[in-house]
């Protein structure tokens, strides 16, 4: 095989690999980039039950209830425009509380309830999930507002 041919084959292989990677990434991103939802997204766009998503918003004051088994939490997540009821089975992070931001991983069930498998609360007092940046919970109206 001549040097020119070899170089050509290598270049072609690299090109094919790059294009394949791009296509693969693009197709997966198309499916998974709609990964983060706010309650309003769920109301307007809808999510098929069982699809893994992240739900982000604020925990509505007064909505947090613990089931008798001691390890199941029920709460409502709001973005000020819509509210989604959620259930979490597990040990909640320390900074998970009413009126604070939460990003929950899980899926919707058939009854319109979000079943969370993992709660990403604030890591420390200052940390806010990136998706919720610029949002603030109004304690009086139980609404989310954009910060000035």
């Amino acid at each position: 095989m001549k040097a020119k041919h070899q170089r050509l084959i290598l270049a072609l292989a690299a090109l094919v690999a790059i294009v394949a990677a791009g296509l693969l990434a693009a197709s997966a991103l198309k499916d998974e980039a709609a990964y983060f939802y706010t309650p309003d997204d769920i109301r307007t766009k809808g999510v098929e039950p069982g699809k893994a998503i992240r739900l982000g918003g604020m925990v509505v004051k007064g909505s947090l209830k613990r089931a008798p088994d001691g390890v199941t939490l029920r709460f409502d997540v709001t973005d000020g425009k819509a509210t989604v009821p959620a259930t979490f089975n597990g040990i909640a992070p320390d900074l998970f509380r009413e009126g604070s931001g939460v990003v929950a991983e899980g899926a919707m069930d058939r009854n319109g309830r979000f079943i969370a498998t993992n709660l990403l609360a604030k890591h420390d007092e200052r940390y806010m999930p990136r998706e919720l940046e610029g949002m603030r919970y109004d304690e009086k109206t139980h609404q989310m507002k954009a910060e000035r």
């Binding site: 997966a28 040990i91 998706e131």
Partner: protein, 642 residues
């Protein structure tokens, strides 16, 4: 006084780096020997000065000198000494100082010990190294001075983030940084060789130990980081696809590709341009990683420093170095001569396949990590998480494992596919047997990816040992041993990952002291809740007696409270057995005097980190094997003289 001395040393070192850059390049251009002669001493002095500055900062932390702003904001006089020591680099300024120190010392080592490079390339390399260092000196001195004073000094510091107060994490960042900086040396070599137009096997032999060492440290760092997240965060997972984790994975992927292509270049004189390209990419990835972690542009579960100004500084450095290197690459690569040829069916080809797969995975991780940033520029927020990475990177990683198993069984230059088929017969047979056995026993119980993972792990594990077949083991070179062990480590790690995701059982319960919990063959007796206290924390601890038909063992999951800064952390109780780990987390108290408990039985999960250790060991053996020849040669030469 100590702080001022440290700062002065840092300024001096920066000045020397500027001098080194000037000497190396004006000397190379005009061929002035007297200028070039001063380059090596300058590099050594610069290394000593940075080490002195870093030593000064460590001293300040150990003494709890609260008049230094960095100490006051990141340390506390009541903290155990180990965390005062490790707290030196557990923050932005300290870790950047650690970065320039490692770079300075590595530069001194290149100046002193590098013998394989010809003089011109050696000097150009030291010049390039100085150019990189200068950017980081500027960053440190103009935007993140670690020695700034505070007046009046507070009586006590604010303390270190309790999540970082762990022996594992204390030594995790330095390991990663050593790896990053090792890649910066490889980058300097590549720039040096491009400048002198001497990209050849000799250059690759000089670069290889640096790449190997960096790669070993990155492997260790990633393995340790994964184990830390697993036991310290209390969520039972070992990889999150968090930007900070990806930041260390991306340089590792590039370094792995570079390691293989530099080996081809060193032994077969092929893949010249590709190797240079990978050296540029590998260092770019460590810069991108630093940028992601240090700029706070992507918040992550690790979220440490958030400062847009620093982010733009690193971004500017990134653009300067990567842009510069790519421009140099584009300008000079035409003059790099063609290397040796090889046939399509050959080990070289398999290494090209390996390189391409690694690059594709790297691209996918990079896209997934940066995509949210790009869309945010257009005004809408998305997050890319585990489903994307698992779905795309998972199958590619399995393909990579197969290529990894076949590659070492092929001959250099040219091979016959018929013979290769005969050599891979045994692993293929094992794969078939595994598929049959698992379809019978585990069908429907586990997902497709874990299923394939277990099959590939078993068959690749055997295949990776085949290069030792019919060889005299004690005469096999260490380099070959290293390859075999590292590849075996990949199979072991994969087996652990697949087993963990396929067979983990979980039990979540609220229990009273006195209750008994049964799960996965284990019996856990919840004895009591006891308050305990440590140096700078108090905790509630569950005492549990656990057994699986044998003698009971006491374990103590804790919920720990730190007063400064006020934080609660989870200390999971881990009980390791040969076939897996029992993982128990204590939650909060709920109505009726009950406590939340989460119990996992994770079969063979420890293989993940054992595999990581084996991979690093393999790299270390290859490194020793390469260096040993030099030592033996010198020793023989000395004996001959006598």
């Amino acid at each position: 006084m100590i702080a001022e001395a440290g700062l002065a040393a840092l300024w001096l070192a920066a000045a020397l780096a500027l001098l080194q850059l000037f000497l190396a390049f004006s000397g190379t251009k005009g061929g002035k020997d007297e200028l070039l002669g001063a380059v090596r001493p300058t590099a050594v002095a610069q290394g000593l000065l940075t080490a002195f500055a870093f030593g000064a900062l460590i001293t300040l932390f150990l003494r709890s000198d609260m008049s230094v702003l960095l100490v006051a904001t990141n340390s506390h006089s009541m903290k155990p000494w180990l965390y005062k020591f490790a707290g030196t680099w557990g923050n932005h300024e300290g870790s950047m100082l650690l970065w320039v120190t490692v770079m300075g010392v590595a530069g001194a080592a290149v100046a002193l010990f590098e013998r394989a490079l010809d003089r011109a390339t050696h000097m150009a390399t030291l010049g390039a190294q100085a150019a990189i260092s200068l950017g980081f000196y500027a960053f440190l001195l103009f935007s993140s001075n670690p020695f700034a004073r505070i007046d009046p000094p507070p009586p006590d510091g604010q303390g270190l983030n309790p999540l970082l107060q762990d022996p594992g994490l204390a030594f995790h960042p330095p390991t990663l940084y050593l790896g990053y900086v090792g890649l910066s040396v490889a980058f300097s070599f590549a720039v040096g060789a491009l400048l002198t137009r001497r990209v050849d096997a000799a250059f690759a032999r000089a670069m290889r130990p640096w790449v190997l060492a960096a790669w070993v440290l990155l492997t260790l760092g990633i393995t340790a980081g994964s184990y830390w997240a697993y036991y310290e965060l209390g969520w039972g997972g070992w990889w999150f696809w968090d930007p900070v984790e990806n930041a260390s994975l991306m340089p590792w992927l590039a370094a792995t590709a570079l390691l293989h292509s530099v080996t081809v270049l060193a032994t077969r004189d092929s893949l010249r341009a590709w190797t240079i390209m990978l050296a540029v990419v590998a260092f770019s990835m460590s810069m991108v990683g630093t940028f992601l972690v240090r700029s706070g542009i992507l918040t992550s579960v690790h979220a440490f420093a958030v400062d847009p100004e620093r982010g733009s500084f690193i971004l500017a450095l990134l653009a300067l170095y990567i842009g510069g290197a790519l421009a140099l690459f584009g300008w000079r690569i035409g003059s790099v001569k063609e290397g040796a040829l090889f046939q399509l069916a050959s080990r070289e080809s398999m290494l090209v396949v390996n390189n391409l797969l690694l690059s594709v995975i790297l691209g996918i991780v990079l896209i997934g990590t940066l995509y949210p940033l790009m869309t945010e520029a257009f005004g809408h927020k998305v997050s890319v998480g585990a489903p994307y990475f698992d779905r795309v990177a998972g199958p590619l990683a399995l393909a990579l494992m197969v290529a990894m198993a076949v590659g070492p069984l092929m001959r250099w230059r040219r091979d016959e596919l018929r013979l290769v088929g005969r050599r891979v017969a045994l692993p293929v047979l094992i794969a078939v047997l595994l598929v049959v056995a698992m379809s019978v026993f585990a069908a429907g119980r586990i997902g497709l990816l874990p299923f394939l993972g277990l099959v590939v792990a078993g068959s690749v594990g055997v295949a990776s040992l085949l290069p030792l077949w019919r060889r005299k083991l004690w005469r096999t070179p260490l380099f070959t041993w290293g390859m075999v062990i590292a590849h075996l480590g990949c199979a072991v790690s994969l087996a652990g990952m697949a087993s963990d995701s396929a067979f983990t059982t979980e039990k979540l319960i609220a229990a009273r002291p006195g209750d008994t919990i049964r799960t996965a063959g284990w019996t856990l007796r919840f004895v009591s809740i006891t308050p305990v206290a440590g140096d700078n924390w108090t905790a509630l601890q569950a005492d549990m007696q656990v057994d699986r038909g044998g003698a009971p063992v006491l374990i103590h999951p804790q919920s720990r409270f730190f007063a400064s800064p006020p934080t609660t952390t989870t200390e999971a109780a881990l009980l390791t057995r040969w076939n897996g780990q029992l993982y128990v987390v204590l939650g909060e108290e709920v109505e009726g005097g009950r406590w939340q408990l989460r119990v996992w039985w994770k079969p063979f999960v420890t293989l993940i980190w054992l595999g990581g250790g084996l991979i690093a060991l393999g790299g270390a053996l290859a490194l020793i094997g390469r260096e040993k020849r030099g030592w033996i040669g010198k020793w023989r030469a000395r004996r001959a003289e006598v």
